[in-house]
């Protein structure tokens, strides 16, 4: 239990703070659920910047724009309990570097991905050691990137991609009982962010890629109406799980726009329920994937801009150098 390499807290452990307001009956707080103020196909803004970590071959920092509720809570705080959260992560690329001595010969670039949450990234404190969900994210990220990198141009070398998540997305609204949803929906958004940031960092490291791969998320949600009943399921892009009462299914993709190819699909939840409940055929899994692809297209424009901006800075230097 005790980890000798770290500073441990009290041996008996500690308990997260319990707020009096959350002890009240569920009906008492349900009014506090943040509301989505975006159109169903409107994405949150992305902040993406490359090259902030000079000791890495490539790096990128990515931040989601806070949802309306969070932005409001920031500017005029009403409660110490944040209504939702907004993804913040840093990605570094190290390499191409020699493979470890124990590795066998590889004619291609060997990709290693690693995703870790900071202990303060989520509503519940995260452990220092990677848990299953973090490993899962790493594997999804690797498959998303493996199809993009031109690996045969970099024989017998390795590329390490490390992502540190400083702030994660919520899996659900904090006021809902922890067991009210089965799936950790926030992970989908985190994956999409990881893909976009890693893509920017790889471009910053100038590793050959087929395209700038971007991540996107779409979900089929059924929100509460004003009367407290659930409305018919709707397809929404770039969902913030805190803003929805019930997410029926969600999909994250890694998408290459110039080739119209998908390198990774992660679909969770029961989308059949949504399409069964209504006659709307647009709520099948294909619609969900299309929605996620559209979200990824949106992320790609930001990604392309960030990469282009850094490439122009780079080229500008070249011209300046010649002029001097």
């Amino acid at each position: 239990m005790t980890d000798r390499r770290r500073i441990n807290g009290p041996p008996s452990g500690t308990r997260p703070a319990v707020f009096a307001s959350s002890l009240k009956s569920a009906s008492g707080i349900s009014t506090g659920r943040p509301q989505r103020e975006r159109q169903p196909n409107e994405l949150r803004k992305l902040f993406l910047k490359t090259g902030l970590i000079p000791s890495a071959s490539g790096s990128a920092y990515l931040e989601f724009e806070p949802s309306a509720s969070l932005a409001a809570a920031r500017s005029s705080p009403q409660s110490l309990i944040p209504p939702s959260s907004a993804l913040k992560l840093a990605c570094t690329v190290h390499g191409p570097k020699p493979l470890p001595r124990s590795a066998s010969f590889s004619p291609n670039l060997v990709l290693t991905t690693h995703v870790k949450y900071a202990p303060f990234a989520a509503r519940q404190r995260k452990g220092h050691i990677r848990d299953a969900s973090e490993r899962d994210l790493g594997v999804h990220l690797e498959t998303a990137l493996r199809g993009v990198i031109v690996a045969e141009r970099w024989p017998k070398s390795g590329l390490d991609i490390t992502i540190t998540i400083l702030e994660a997305e919520d899996d659900r609204w904090w006021g809902d009982a922890p067991d009210s949803h089965d799936a950790p929906w926030g992970m989908m958004n985190v994956l999409a962010g990881c893909i976009t940031a890693a893509s920017a960092a790889i471009a910053d490291a100038r590793i050959d890629c087929l395209d700038l791969v971007a991540g996107g998320v779409a979900a089929i949600v059924s929100d509460e109406t004003a009367e407290g009943e659930t409305s018919s399921p709707k397809l929404m892009l770039d969902t913030d799980p805190a803003e929805h009462k019930s997410i029926l299914s969600a999909c994250a993709v890694a998408y290459m726009p110039s080739r119209d190819e998908i390198t990774e699909i992660w679909l969770k939840g029961d989308h059949s329920k949504a399409s069964l409940g209504t006659d709307d055929k647009n709520l099948g899994h294909e619609a969900l994937i299309d929605g996620a692809v559209n979200a990824a297209r949106g992320a790609h424009t930001v990604l392309a801009e960030a990469v282009k901006e850094s490439a122009e800075r780079f080229a500008g230097l070249m011209l300046g150098g010649n002029a001097a």
């Binding site: 000079p54 020699p98 470890p100 024989p155 910053d204 990469v307 490439a311 001097a324």
Partner: protein, 259 residues
């Protein structure tokens, strides 16, 4: 046709049809079109003979104008990129380079980490591009490799990192028979290299999973920097001797011809 080319490309950007161009480094071909595979300035290498197609490539290097003397104090302007070596250098139609890794015939600078009876182990510090070795006296064309001072200054390790830093570099072997071209059987490795020496070598083979193979069997290859046993930087006096300017003693090395 060239007028439609962007000055700067990003990965996945279509550059031109394969019918009019041939694909160079930093690009790839998809559906009879050339696409960029890295971000950077687009170069068109027009061949003198109009029969062949021009080569489209995306440069991984920015041709900067570093200060003339190495010891002068103006570092190049900081950049946010940390690219490594060489791309296609326009002046000469060199063999195209698709990556920054050591390749056969690359000239590298490496530090000796181990000397054994039959071989010396070195770790590769710098891959020099061809233009550097062909125009060694013109530092302006040598914008190469690992040359981002900002990155070097920030990354060069704390002591803890230090011990493992050799594992982050590509390793190579200089076998006894590759040390020099003459009197190969009389080579004594201890009289050729010492641990810590900086050696200029040429890659002869990509080797196995862990080592490249280097040769120093040329006049311009061999030890370029070495410290004496007393710890002073030595200068070359002959093809097999270097001298300590302080102590005055000389030590044996396989010396590279100084330029």
């Amino acid at each position: 046709m060239t007028s439609t080319l962007p000055a700067v490309a990003i990965p996945g950007q279509r550059l031109g049809p394969i019918a009019s161009f041939s694909a160079g480094p930093g690009t790839h071909v998809q559906n009879a079109n050339i696409y960029a595979s890295i971000a950077g300035p687009v170069l068109v290498d027009a061949h003198p003979s109009s029969k062949t197609k021009s080569t489209l490539s995306v440069s991984r290097t920015a041709l900067r104008n570093p200060s003339a003397a190495p010891s002068s104090s103006t570092p190049p302007p900081p950049t946010t990129t940390t690219t490594t070596t060489s791309g296609p250098q326009p002046p000469k139609p060199n063999k195209p380079r698709y990556n920054t890794l050591p390749a056969v015939d690359s000239v590298v600078l490496a530090r000796v980490t181990r000397v054994q009876k039959r071989q010396a182990t070195v770790s590769i510090l710098v891959v020099l591009d061809d233009s550097v070795s062909s125009h060694p006296l013109n530092p302006t064309v040598s914008a190469s490799d690992n040359d981002n001072i900002e990155a070097i200054l920030s990354s060069a390790a704390n002591p803890e990192n230090h011990s493992s830093s050799d594992e982050l570099r590509f390793q190579a072997l200089i076998r006894r028979e590759d040390v020099r071209a003459v009197e190969k059987d009389r080579v004594v490795m201890d009289e050729m290299f010492r641990v810590g020496d900086i050696v200029r070598g040429s890659v002869i083979s990509l080797g196995d999973q862990s080592f490249y193979y280097l040769t120093t069997a040329r006049n311009d290859l061999g030890v370029v920097m070495a410290r004496s046993e007393a710890g002073n930087m030595m200068f070359p006096v002959s093809w097999k001797d270097m001298r300590d300017p302080v102590g005055g003693g000389s030590e044996l090395r396989k010396v590279a011809r100084p330029f």
